[in-house]
């Protein structure tokens, strides 16, 4: 019997998972901060404490994400695209496409029936294609990130942004607030704008259902509704943020490195 560990250091959150026999045993999440090394060590500590295991019980650790290469106890690092595909396939075995909305990038991955990656498209050059966009606008509006999804469902007349740039959108939001536009309508507009960017990725990959969402974006019901308005039915994991860490642990147990 062997345990495997997956660590996913994101730009905002870091996630760790332990699996055994291809099953999720324990998971933990922390804010990444700036010291990725320390955060990875803390994640490992928490996971080991939760399972009562020692460092020597972990047969292999795979790291992924933003700072995968900086983790001192990593045996291998694997691209987040591969970890995401593996994690989502575990949760939804029939899935053919996954939309992974992260803090600093978004990606859409297409899988074949065996779960092999057949194509993917990434938006990473521009913050307006990532969760950052939502965080920045939430910050301007002084709305908590966890409230942003439900707030946007109450929108009556979502705004259309005149710019595709996250930085310019921040100033646009300030003008709109001054004009009396509601927070709800602004937030819904942000979700629609991000959904628009994702739809470009969908087209490039050739989206096929069943389609799932993962990453922090999967916690945002407003974003989910905006993507569904594009005509896509989304499968939503109960813990979308740990999908890539889970995938990393599963890859650790399955691949010969």
């Amino acid at each position: 019997m062997a345990w495997f560990m997956g660590i996913d250091i994101g730009s905002g959150m870091s996630k760790g998972v332990i699996t055994r026999d291809g099953k999720l045993v324990s998971h933990y999440m922390l804010t990444s901060g700036v010291n990725y090394r320390n955060v990875s060590l803390r994640l490992r500590e928490e996971l080991l404490a939760d399972t009562g295991l020692g460092v020597e019980d972990i047969a292999r650790t795979v790291t992924t994400g933003h700072a995968a290469g900086l983790i001192p106890f990593s045996n291998h690092h694997v691209a987040d695209t591969q970890c995401c595909a593996r994690g989502i396939k575990h949760i939804f075995p029939s899935v053919r496409t996954v939309i992974d909305v992260q803090g600093q990038s978004s990606q859409v991955i297409h899988l074949d029936e065996r779960g092999q990656i057949t194509g993917f498209a990434v938006s990473e050059a521009c913050a307006s294609g990532s969760g950052y966009f939502i965080e920045a606008i939430a910050n301007v509006l002084q709305v908590k990130l966890e409230d942003i999804g439900s707030l946007s469902l109450n929108a009556k007349n979502p705004v259309t942004f005149t710019t595709g740039c996250a930085v310019f959108s921040e100033s646009e939001v300030i003008s709109r607030v001054a004009e009396g536009v509601t927070k709800e309508d602004i937030i819904a507009g942000v979700h629609q704008a991000l959904a628009g960017k994702i739809s470009v990725l969908n087209d490039r990959v050739g989206l096929e259902e069943p389609c799932a969402i993962s990453g922090g974006g999967g916690l945002n019901i407003g974003l989910i509704r905006s993507i569904e308005e594009l005509g896509i039915q989304l499968l939503i994991p109960s813990q979308p943020q740990i999908v890539n860490a889970l995938g990393a642990a599963l890859v650790a147990g399955e691949q010969d490195f």
Binding site: V34, C126, Y132, C165, A166, V167, I174, A178, E179
Partner: protein
């Protein structure tokens, strides 16, 4: 920024005022105008012609006419540098390149879709380093080894800059990298116009000596920066106003004025 320039019949500048536009102040261009009138010591009725230009030109209730910033800018730059072949203007919201010959605008490129490559990029980097925008240029000249800074998204660059600081990279090297990044974007934008001297560089970003130097390195020759690089659009507008007035007078026609009202804009109500 909102700029007002008043010129006399000899093209001499009698008043120039530069004020932050801001969200609320878009309504209040009249206040900047009033300040300029006071500086020039003339009454509003004595001004023969008022031209509004720039992004907010339609929100100026006291203008006789609106003219696009490209036309005004070309006119203003030509006034100072008649030999100009390429005018590069980088402001807080956009960047433009104007290909010119003998004062005529032949072609232009514009970038206003992305904050990287505009003054906003520098503003945000300065803020996250707790630096004054005005100090960035000089500081960067002390650099001995330019840091490598990506020139994609402003948001990501800001994070990159903060992590470089935590890695212990000297501030001046980071700034040199930042200026190189924006100069690369500007150069890439104007390359479509076939760059040839003389190149005139204006807009708020032309106040940054670090960007000027980086741009000169990339172009391979010196650029000309007017003494007050923020004013070329407003000066061009004033000159065009004078030309319209003189043309009407020469033809013996009355000057076509707008329904001027030196008051707050009601455009947003």
């Amino acid at each position: 920024m909102t700029k007002v320039v008043i010129i006399d019949r000899n093209d001499e500048i009698c008043a120039s005022v530069i004020k932050h536009t801001g969200a609320e102040h878009r309504r209040l261009a009249n206040r900047v105008m009033e300040e300029a009138l006071e500086q020039a010591g003339v009454s509003f009725d004595e001004i023969s012609y008022v031209i509004a230009t720039g992004y907010g030109r339609i929100t100026v209730p006291f203008a006789d006419r609106q003219i696009t910033e490209l036309t005004c800018h070309a006119r203003g730059v030509y006034h100072y540098v008649p030999s100009v072949r390429l005018a590069i203007d980088v402001g807080g919201q956009d960047a433009k390149g104007l290909k010119m010959s003998c004062g005529k605008l032949l072609d232009f490129v514009m970038s206003d879709k992305c904050a990287a490559g505009t003054g906003r990029f520098l503003e945000l980097i300065a803020a996250s380093l707790d630096l004054k925008l005005d100090d960035m240029g000089k500081l960067s000249l002390k650099s001995t080894s330019k840091a490598s800074i990506s020139n994609t998204c402003t948001v990501f660059t800001r994070q990159e800059v903060v992590s470089r600081i935590s890695e212990g990279v000297p501030l001046e090297d980071i700034l040199a990298g930042v200026h190189d990044a924006i100069a690369s974007r500007i150069t890439r934008m104007v390359e479509k116009l076939k760059i040839e001297p003389d190149v005139v560089f204006t807009g708020g970003v032309a106040k940054n000596i670090g960007v000027i130097k980086s741009l000169e390195t990339k172009l391979g020759f010196k650029v000309i920066v007017p003494e007050e690089p923020l004013l070329s659009g407003a000066i061009g507008a004033a000159l065009l106003g004078k030309e319209i007035t003189l043309k009407a007078l020469a033809q013996g026609k009355p000057v076509q004025r707008g329904r001027r009202s030196l008051s707050e804009s009601t455009f947003f109500q």
